[in-house]
């Protein structure tokens, strides 16, 4: 989906079980091979590369991958850890060793409370999908102010755009501070009118994620809005 808008004219939607290729290519994400043939495993957009074939899903849950930046919500506090909801089937415990402060045993509640929003990084995922998260990296912190909206995690690459083009444009044209978590949560801060416009634009990208020429369309939409205000 992070392919450039104009390059691919025909976006073929496939459903599970659709035959994608007879042989020769590697079965990429969203596909499976059986008897030398490659089939779609998920509903999505077929993507053919020179050496592989894959399906970019149109929907689905967020499954954590090591290195992902996510926006989490504290849902429980332990004596030496916080339990964070990262909008996936797996809860993520955030240990006191993984936060930028020195926290005494049993004093976790003094630093973050249930309901707080945090920017985290997935540092480990094991074979039974036990998740390790950290807040010790550049830019990772507790998020205060602003608001969080939720989109389908499968649409996140589209919100970011190719090399961050879409998100950069959103930031520039609305003047908002925006963080996009890979888990489908987006944190936006700015003045209210701008937040509303950013939310509308994000909603638009989400609804039309599979259509062509989207960056231009969103740009027009945002520019129109600012002209009306002037």
């Amino acid at each position: 989906m992070d392919e450039s808008d104009s390059k691919e004219s025909a976006r073929e939607i496939v459903v599970p079980g659709d035959l994608l290729a007879i042989t020769g290519k590697r079965a990429g994400p969203g596909t499976y091979s059986e008897g030398g043939k490659i089939y779609a495993a998920q509903m999505g957009i077929k993507q053919v590369r020179p050496d592989s074939i894959s399906v970019v899903p149109l929907s689905g849950q967020y499954i954590p991958i090591r290195g992902d930046l996510v926006i989490g919500k504290i849902i429980d506090i332990g004596a030496s850890n916080w339990l964070v909801d990262i909008n996936s089937p797996y809860p993520a415990p955030l240990h006191v060793n993984e936060v930028p402060w020195r926290v005494e045993f049993g004093e976790t509640g003094k630093f973050m409370q249930v309901g707080d929003i945090v920017l985290l990084k997935i540092v480990s995922v094991d074979e039974v999908k036990r998740i390790g998260v950290s807040m010790q990296d550049h830019g990772l912190r507790k998020l205060t102010g602003g608001m969080v909206i939720k989109i389908s995690p499968s649409k996140v690459p589209r919100i970011i755009g190719k090399n961050g083009s879409m998100i950069q444009m959103l930031k520039n044209l609305t003047g908002c501070r925006i963080y996009v978590g890979q888990n489908g949560r987006i944190w936006i801060d700015g003045d209210l009118d701008n937040i509303i416009r950013a939310v509308q634009a994000i909603k638009m990208v989400e609804d039309e994620a599979h259509s062509l020429g989207l960056t231009e369309k969103v740009k027009r939409f945002l520019e129109e809005g600012s002209r009306k205000e002037a």
Binding site: I13, V15, P16, G17, D18, L19, G30, Y32, E34, Y39, A41, Q42, M43, G44, P57, L58, S59, G60, Q61, I63, K73, P89, Y90, P91, G115, I117, E127, V128, K129, M147, V148, I149, K150, S154, R185, I196, V199, Q200, A201, K203, M204, D207, E208, H210, S211, F221
Partner: protein, 257 residues
């Protein structure tokens, strides 16, 4: 099953059934994918007089915890008939029949879903029968597999389902309520078209081996047609959306934290 009431003619002189269908003809089938907004995936099926809704949630954290499997996801299915779905009010709540149907549908779906991708989770499928006219487990399974695909769950193929049976000595496809009640056999089937596997097969009543084989053959052909309707429903969902931009509408309040 039992005997036919003397005044009811299930198949007429021309070989047509009470609703005018030929023996190998299915009732009209219409599927809509993504019918519910709050569910992760959903589908609505109208199959003759049957009206069935299916909703999928997950993969999500599995509760109760002791059911979690550290190696794969659990496909939990819940089939329920609304109290107003049949002529006489159905007593609400789970019963022997709905337990059985839930179990066989979840087993059929487990067979196609890549459960090993989501260890410790559960994928919950809810099937609500709003109106019943025989063949609701087939309609339910058909709806559930469309809902699973709509939810983005990785799976080998969509499961298509249809029933065949024996009515007034003839092998017929997709029995209605009258044919089911007064016919000699009803055989619902779940079929995976790409692999040719049968993932659900039950039979109520009796048939000879030749009749059984004929019914299976008829059923497989019907399932292939059902499969086409399922694929079409899923593809239609996204092609429509792209043509009607609604981004000018007010933003909806989603999760605000």
């Amino acid at each position: 099953m039992g005997g036919t009431p003397t005044d009811l003619k299930l198949i007429d002189e021309n070989g047509l059934r009470i609703d005018g269908r030929r023996p190998d003809e299915m009732r009209p089938l219409r599927i809509e994918a993504g019918a519910l907004k709050r569910a992760d995936g959903s589908a609505y099926v109208e199959w003759g007089l049957n009206k069935v809704m299916a909703a999928v949630y997950g993969p999500r954290e599995c509760h109760p915890r002791h059911l979690q499997n550290p190696e794969r996801a659990l496909v939990q299915c819940n089939y329920n008939m609304a109290s107003f779905s049949v002529d006489d009010r159905k007593k609400p709540g789970p019963d022997r029949r709905s337990h059985e149907i839930s179990k066989i549908i979840s087993e059929a779906l487990t067979h196609v879903v890549f459960t090993e991708y989501f260890p410790r989770t559960s994928i919950d499928v809810y099937i609500e029968v709003l109106q019943a006219n025989a063949g609701t487990r087939c309609a339910g399974l058909t709806a559930a597999s469309v809902a699973l695909a709509d939810a983005g769950v990785p799976m080998r193929d969509l499961v298509a389902s249809c029933a065949a049976g024996k009515v007034a000595g003839t092998i017929v496809l997709d029995l209605t309520k009258e044919e089911d009640n007064f016919g000699q056999a009803d055989m619902p089937m779940g079929y995976v078209p790409t692999s040719g596997e049968i993932v659900l097969l039950q039979m109520d009543g009796d048939m000879t081996q030749e009749e059984f084989e004929k019914a299976i053959k008829m059923d497989i052909e019907a399932c292939k047609k059902v499969h086409e309707v399922q694929r079409d429903a899923l593809k239609r969902r996204y092609s429509q959306k792209g043509e009607s931009p609604e981004y000018a509408a007010a933003p909806e309040a989603k999760e605000v934290a």
